[in-house]
């Protein structure tokens, strides 16, 4: 593990909740030009079997996969690179599959409803991809924002946060408003925002949150994250480290930090390999022009 000692950042309270593991590396906190950090976590290939498919609405479905040997290694923020078996070359590269729920030997994946999956189908899963989300120890309130994209990368964290008595609010903006919220925990406050990421009481919501995790449509992630950054800069006097996180959904050909197709530039010439150090990048480290 490319480790940063506790307190090395001068911010003692910014630690992970013990539940989510002990790693302490993420993009935006790394001080060196590094390509690979994920030494403790073993990458392996799992075989998953689709046990059942559940259609949520006309846009989304859930795949219940039985995955032998997965255990409880999977944490919120982590994902798989999946490939349907038997081998076919369409799509060619593995797809990033975001888990939204984890049970014993079963993981629930969220996928678009227009793709046909059959129960009994076998899937090769390469994982586990990425680092878990890092939460402050003093965390009380978390804001999750899905901007023109389904909130799938954020959903798995919700029950775990509630279990730790953390209040969670989710903002859905643009295309994200199509997301079916009836299956989410009833304690979750869901705000339907307008297409330009505006909602009533924005100042209060942003001020209330101790940490914010944002997913955006992956067509031009940096441009959209910059829009979010500007919006938050208008609403807050200053944005500290470990407050606002960009959850990247960059295309990942290899998932292990080899191909460098997901290498993202940070401030001061630093680099971040999204597949091994992401998906969450502290927005204070991103090189926005503003």
């Amino acid at each position: 593990m490319f480790g940063i000692a506790q307190g090395a950042l001068g911010v003692q309270s910014y630690e992970e909740l013990a539940l989510f593991g002990s790693s302490f590396s993420a993009c935006g906190l790394i001080r060196k030009y590094s390509f690979h950090t994920n030494d403790e976590q073993t990458m392996r290939e799992y075989t998953g079997i689709i046990e059942r498919t559940v259609r949520l609405n006309e846009h989304y479905q859930h795949l219940h996969l039985s995955v032998e040997g997965l255990g409880s290694d999977l944490k919120p923020g982590q994902s798989f690179l999946a490939r349907r078996m038997p081998e076919r070359w369409e799509p060619y590269l593995r797809e990033q599959w975001w888990p939204v729920d984890l049970k014993t030997d079963e993981v629930v994946i969220e996928r678009p409803a227009n793709i046909l999956y059959e129960p009994g189908e076998t899937v090769s899963l390469l994982g586990i991809i990425g680092q878990p989300y890092r939460y402050k120890r003093t965390l009380r309130n978390v804001l999750l924002i899905a901007y023109d994209t389904p909130p799938s990368p954020l959903v798995m964290s919700i029950p775990l946060l509630f279990k730790h008595h953390v209040s969670v609010t989710m903002v859905l903006s643009g295309a994200a408003t199509q997301y079916p919220t009836n299956r989410l925990p009833p304690e979750l406050e869901v705000i339907q925002a307008d297409d330009d990421l505006g909602w009533t009481n924005m100042v209060m919501t942003v001020g209330w949150a101790d940490q914010v995790f944002v997913v955006v449509r992956p067509d031009d992630e940096m441009e959209r994250f910059e829009r979010v950054w500007k919006r938050f800069s208008e609403l807050r006097a200053g944005i500290d480290k470990n407050y606002l996180f960009a959850v990247m959904q960059t295309a990942l050909p290899c998932g292990v930090g080899a191909c460098l197709a997901c290498l993202t530039p940070l401030r001061e010439g630093e680099m971040c390999v999204v597949c091994t150090q992401g998906p969450a990048i502290d927005m204070t480290a991103l090189p926005f022009s503003s």
């Binding site: 690979h36 073993t42 070359w89 060619y92 067509d219 050909p253 290899c254 998932g255 930090g257 080899a258």
Partner: protein, 315 residues
């Protein structure tokens, strides 16, 4: 098995296996350790390295294609000094030769990189990646500049256009071997942003194109070893390159899709695939072997049960 993949000289590079991963596929050697036994390959080729640092490309870098993909990374790397500083120890510990892929954009950079590598014990050879737009004169200068500054063999990875002409220039300038070829460049529309993106194309369709070029080069330069690369997805693909005259084979994007395929091809061409029925060694790997062993154990148990039922009792 001994395969000489460079022209005969006092520093020829001899491999125990003809299969390698292409440059940029395995990173710098620390990424795929959990999934692939690198020591089963013939050599390790690093991600592209330049003399000075290079930043990643902006915008969309991966575009899905029918049965393939387009990738445009911009060859990001921290520069040869930092890369050597970070990975030297890892490469020294590797049980297979390390070939450093050098971005051959201009003669001066190629010359400086070659001088730097000459002093490195961790690196056994150079693979010089020639720019797609290079002229034969530029290729001659770049390859000549590198070859004059190192005694280590210099392999030259050729572009897929004007390949034969550029190969002649490379051979004349002292190329130790030819790698045919770099993935061709193409332009495709990114489905997310709607923008046109230019990059290198990967996929099974590359094989017939590259196989033809390999055959042409082998016929034209019988004294120069040729390494085939492009579209290898099965062991038969790799064997086709060998049959066309390639001395060795590089495997590219299938490694990202199905990492074990690389090792499988290497074991197959290295003569290492031994099935259980033929007396597999305990440490030998084969796709499905775990399942085979489980089935074999179950079959043995069933047979034992049946035998015990057949055994007459009470007499």
């Amino acid at each position: 098995m001994e395969i000489e993949i460079t022209r005969r000289s006092k520093n020829s590079l001899i491999l125990a296996n003809p299969v390698m991963a292409a440059a940029g596929v395995l990173g710098f050697g620390d990424a795929y350790g959990d999934l692939i036994q690198l020591e089963k390959l013939g050599a390790f080729i690093t991600s592209p390295v330049s003399y000075t640092p290079r930043r990643p490309a902006g915008g969309a870098r991966v575009v899905p294609l029918p049965a393939g993909t387009l990738v445009h990374t911009g060859l990001p790397n921290a520069g040869i000094s930092k890369v050597l500083g970070k990975y030297r120890t890892l490469w020294e510990k590797m049980k297979i030769p390390v070939i450093m892929h050098v971005v051959g954009t201009n003669p001066e950079q190629a010359r400086k990189c070659a001088s730097r590598i000459e002093a490195e014990h961790a690196v056994q050879a150079i693979e010089l990646g020639i720019d797609d737009d290079a002229t034969p004169e530029e290729v001659h200068q770049i390859v000549g500049g590198a070859a004059r500054n190192t005694e280590k063999p210099v392999l030259v990875r050729l572009p897929s256009q004007d390949t034969v002409v550029l190969a002649q220039a490379a051979v004349d300038a002292g190329a130790g071997g030819l790698v045919a070829c770099a993935p061709p460049r193409g332009t495709a529309r990114d489905p997310y942003s709607g923008k046109l993106v230019t990059g290198r194309i990967y996929g099974p369709l590359m094989k017939p194109m590259m196989l033809r070029l390999v055959k042409q080069l082998v016929d034209m330069f019988p004294e120069v070893p040729v390494i085939g690369v492009g579209g290898v997805h099965t062991q038969q693909d790799a064997r086709d390159y060998i049959e066309a005259g390639a001395r060795a084979v590089q495997v590219d994007s299938v490694t990202w899709v199905q990492p074990k395929t690389l090792e499988y091809i290497a074991r197959d061409l290295g003569g290492l695939v031994i099935t259980r029925e033929q007396g597999a060694l305990a440490d030998e790997w084969h796709p499905g072997m775990g399942e085979t062993e489980r089935k074999a154990r179950e079959a043995a148990r069933r047979k034992l049960d049946e035998d015990s039922k057949k055994t007459p009792t009470g007499h």
